[in-house]
């Protein structure tokens, strides 16, 4: 198990390094005369050169990357070129918002998706058919469309939930929860459908296995067979979808944050990419990948725990 985790961790670190190097190189290659953009069109050539020197843009790209990464390693991502704010503080302020949405949606969809999937696998019949339809609808309609519909109905017309804004958990737990309901719900619909679908087919598959018949022959109760044995054997495939879906959720959060005017990484990413704020973009890339690596590591450990063949080679 330790070796398994170590291997995953190493590949995660390599991923962070490689992706940030490639992004760094691409961004520099693609973003033209950054110094001029920052100082503005009215500035003299001299001012542009000074700005470029100040930002280290006159150095070769490898040297710039080394400089950047040596600081990034200790968590110093520099300041935004456009707002001059410290990026690390900026991100730590915004990260909780995005993580609340992404993690909240993951948990909600895992709970609902597993319950629906198991029920559909056991009952079949109408519930199963309904789930098939929900799965297709959830796949076919993007989360942000659900968000628009929820805003138009539940907040604009019914006034049940705030249409926009974020309340920090520390300010008011109930306010926090109610500001998250709609964003989480709109993202969770698609993910729930995907998980339910996967769990359904995994449970059906497991229930066909020989060992389930043997368990039945031993007079164990139906719920023990389903919840202890079938679910445990079906859960690795649920985890696999969940880890893929979590990555999609991080992306989906960008769009959802715009609709609900949530001050998360999404709006920041949007602004930074539109402006070409390289240090901010780089920091966002690193942070997202680290989050993905950490979440996948947690899911991998859970996977190994559920699946002794992985744990004990």
């Amino acid at each position: 198990m330790v070796r398994f985790v170590a291997a995953r961790l190493t590949s995660g670190i390599i991923l962070v390094v490689v992706v940030s190097a490639i992004s760094f190189w691409l961004i520099y290659l693609g973003s033209g005369d950054i110094a001029r953009t920052i100082v503005g069109d009215g500035a003299t050539d001299e001012q542009v050169v000074v700005k470029a020197q100040e930002l280290g843009l006159d150095q070769p790209i490898a040297a710039q990357f080394l400089m950047w990464s040596s600081r990034a390693i200790i968590g110093d991502f520099g300041v935004s070129w456009f707002t001059n704010q410290g990026i690390s503080t900026l991100i730590t302020a915004k990260l909780p918002v995005t993580l609340s949405i992404a993690v909240g949606s993951s948990l909600v969809s895992a709970a609902v998706g597993i319950a629906l999937g198991v029920a559909a696998a056991l009952r079949r019949g109408w519930l199963d058919r309904a789930l098939q339809i929900v799965a297709i609808v959830g796949f076919a309609l993007p989360g942000f469309w659900f968000a628009l519909v929820l805003v138009a109905t539940l907040s604009v017309q019914a006034g049940l939930f705030p249409a926009t804004g974020y309340v920090p958990l520390s300010a008011s737990p109930s306010g926090w929860l109610s500001s998250l309901v709609l964003p989480v719900a709109s993202l969770a619909i698609g993910v729930t459908a995907a998980i339910a679908q996967q769990v359904r087919s995994a449970v059906i598959d497991v229930l066909r296995q020989d060992y389930i018949r043997s368990l039945r022959s031993r007079g164990l109760s139906g719920s023990q067979i389903v919840f202890k044995h079938a679910l445990r054997n079906a859960s690795p495939s649920a985890l696999t979808v969940l880890s893929l879906q979590f990555i999609n959720l991080l992306g989906g959060a960008v769009i959802i944050e715009r609709i609900f005017a949530l001050p998360g990484l999404g709006q920041m990413t949007l602004d930074a990419t539109v402006q070409g704020d390289v240090p901010v973009i780089m920091a966002i890339i690193v942070f997202t990948i680290v989050i993905v690596v950490v979440v996948n590591l947690i899911l991998d450990v859970a996977y190994g725990w559920l699946n002794p063949k992985v744990r004990i080679a």
Binding site: I27, A140, L141, W145, D210, S217, R258, T273, P308
Partner: protein, 587 residues
């Protein structure tokens, strides 16, 4: 020569299969609806210019947020553009986005997957690492960065997205290729000197094609969704109408005209949904293929004549089965797989239920145990287990299962739950039926393992099923079966999956346990050697009915039915395989 023939044979078979798949797809109403929708959406967007007199870009102040009218069937948007025109023209953008995504992803993923799966080795390792890395990147965020660098051309952005989801094709193709690679006919093709390239295109692609098409159908939809998301963020080409930018406009006017979200939302939903349904329908059509090749339980012929009964003469009868029938629903009726089977077993006695595959012997055993699949129907005129009578057709064995009647399966490995320790699996019935505590049950489990002759019971109890051998696993299953000291043990081909030496050991174990526990054993087998070795009485089954029954020695010395004689002759020739018996492995 032979191999060439063999490969052509398979190729023809597959071609026929494929025609069958398309036909099945067209017979599935959902599949047809999906295809019709996709064709209609494509036509509507391609013919947009002719279908509506309005331009998707022209603004008309009089038409700002206008409700639907004869002139503007779907009304106007936030800046007075015709919604219908934008919807139709937007379809072009969406379909192009989906197409670019799929084409780029397939063009990269499929060849690399083929190569990685076929050659393996270092190339495979590198390709897999890159693929895993791509999967770990959140698409939207990467695309935002890409658009910041490369500008907002839709085609380029979607091409990058295609690269990002190429792992979807890569993984699928790689896995399928690896499976096919080890098939005999690919080996044969290799031996006959076909080049790698030809093997891949001719043999591997043929198998991989179907899952790729299904995946493509799904990814087309994903491409449409992502493009819509980006356009919604205002990052699309502003001069290009698209469903995403329509939603952006709807969002801007969500207080004034919330209805604007409906048309583009439905357009996305219906189109992406149609692709998803098409993918599902394709998958179902292919799965039907597999299902049809599955052997159905053989139907039985007309009644053979005399009613043979394998009833015990002993005093203490623990299992009585009378007039057992098992049938399966079948298009246009029922299929009877067991008919009028009557037998009984006394305490301490071993009854052999013998027959070839499809004779109904396993079905009879499962019916007694209440373990038939859901769709099967079992009826009987009498079923008594350990003195308790069970109403006809009732699959529940309530207090009996695991306590009075137990089951030893054929395939030891697949009958243990891979995720629980052996000791836990033995403990489970003990804890339930004997109400033992966790510790006590575990200790009892270790004792049972020692009783069934496992040398290191402590170690085996702590092991997971994949860590022990097949013979050991069968001992574990026997230990579980006897854990609550049942009166009847039904063993379904308990030695068939094992090596010859292990077979003998398992039979010895059963013999010993029968004496020690005074159990009755029903041994389902196709092997007369096993019958001769352990059974007191034997009942021969064919076509779901009992043909002959009696003391083992009598039946062996003077078989009354010609079929039994034939079976005996075939079986006792020793090494010569049972002509029909060995063709299929009995489940």
């Amino acid at each position: 020569m032979t191999s060439a023939l063999a490969t052509t044979g398979i190729a023809t078979a597959q071609r026929q299969d494929r025609r069958g798949t398309v036909a099945r797809l067209l017979r599935n109403p959902l599949g047809v609806i999906a295809i019709v929708i996709i064709v209609l959406v494509t036509l509507a967007s391609l013919l947009a210019t002719w279908l509506t007199p309005h331009s998707p870009a022209v603004t008309d102040l009089a038409n700002v947020l206008a409700p639907p009218s004869i002139e503007h069937l779907l009304g106007g948007d936030g800046v007075g553009r015709d919604v219908l025109a934008r919807l139709l023209h937007g379809g072009q953008t969406s379909l192009a986005a989906g197409a670019i995504t799929v084409i780029v992803a397939a063009a990269i993923g499929v060849p690399l997957g083929l190569a990685a799966g076929y050659y393996g080795g270092r190339f495979d390792a590198v390709a897999r690492t890159v693929s895993d890395a791509l999967v770990a990147l959140p698409a939207i965020i990467v695309l935002l960065v890409v658009m910041a660098i490369l500008g907002s051309q839709m085609a380029l952005t979607m091409a990058v997205f295609g690269v990002m989801i190429a792992p979807g094709f890569f993984r699928l193709t790689r896995a399928a290729t690896m499976r096919v690679r080890n098939e005999l006919y690919v080996d044969a093709a290799r031996v006959t000197g076909l080049s790698d390239m030809r093997i891949m295109t001719r043999h591997v692609m043929r198998v991989v094609r179907a899952p790729i098409i299904i995946q493509a159908s799904m990814m087309f939809g994903v491409g449409i969704s992502i493009q819509a998301g980006l356009a919604f963020l205002g990052l699309g080409d502003p001069n290009q109408a698209s469903w995403g930018s329509m939603l952006d406009d709807a969002f801007a006017n969500i207080y004034a005209a919330p209805d604007l979200v409906i048309a583009p939302g439905l357009a996305i939903g219906i189109t992406v949904g149609a692709f998803a349904i098409l993918g599902n329908a394709l998958r179902d059509a292919l799965e039907d293929d597999d299902a049809q090749s599955d052997t159905n339980p053989e139907d039985i012929d007309a009644v053979v004549g005399d009613h043979v009964r394998a009833t015990a003469s002993g005093e203490d009868i623990v299992l009585e089965v009378a007039g057992l029938e098992v049938s399966y629903p079948y298009p246009g009726g029922e299929r009877m797989v067991v008919s009028d089977v009557t037998f009984s077993v006394a305490r301490g006695e071993v009854l052999g239920l013998v027959g070839e595959s499809g004779s109904g012997k396993s079905q009879s055993a499962f019916a007694v145990l209440g373990l038939l699949p859901r769709e099967a129907e079992a009826r009987w005129s009498g079923l008594r287990i350990a003195g308790e009578s069970i109403p006809s057709g009732d699959a529940r064995r309530r207090d009996l299962a695991g306590r009075r009647i137990a089951y030893v399966p054929q395939e030891p490995m697949s009958n243990l739950d891979p995720t629980f320790r052996v000791g836990d699996q033995i403990s489970e019935p003990l804890r339930r039926h004997r109400r033992l505590g966790k510790r006590a049950a575990w200790n009892q489990a270790v004792e049972l393992l020692a009783r069934v002759g496992i040398p290191d019971p402590d170690g085996v109890a702590r092991s997971y099923p994949h860590q022990i051998s097949g013979g050991m696993a069968q001992r574990v299953l026997i230990a579980i079966a006897i854990s609550c000291e049942p009166d009847v043990l039904i063993a379904d081909e308990p030695t068939t999956a094992l090596d010859v030496t292990v077979q003998a050991e398992i039979l010895d174990l059963l013999r010993r346990l029968r004496v020690e526990n005074g159990m009755a054993i029903v041994l389902v087998t196709h092997d007369f050697g096993v019958v001769a070795d352990i059974c007191d009485r034997v009942a021969v089954m064919r076509h779901g009915q009992l043909l002959e029954a009696g003391e083992t020695s009598e039946v062996f010395d003077a078989p009354s039915h010609p079929y039994t004689r034939a079976l005996l002759d075939a079986g006792l020739e020793g090494k010569a395989p049972f002509s029909r018996l060995s063709e299929k492995v009995t489940r």
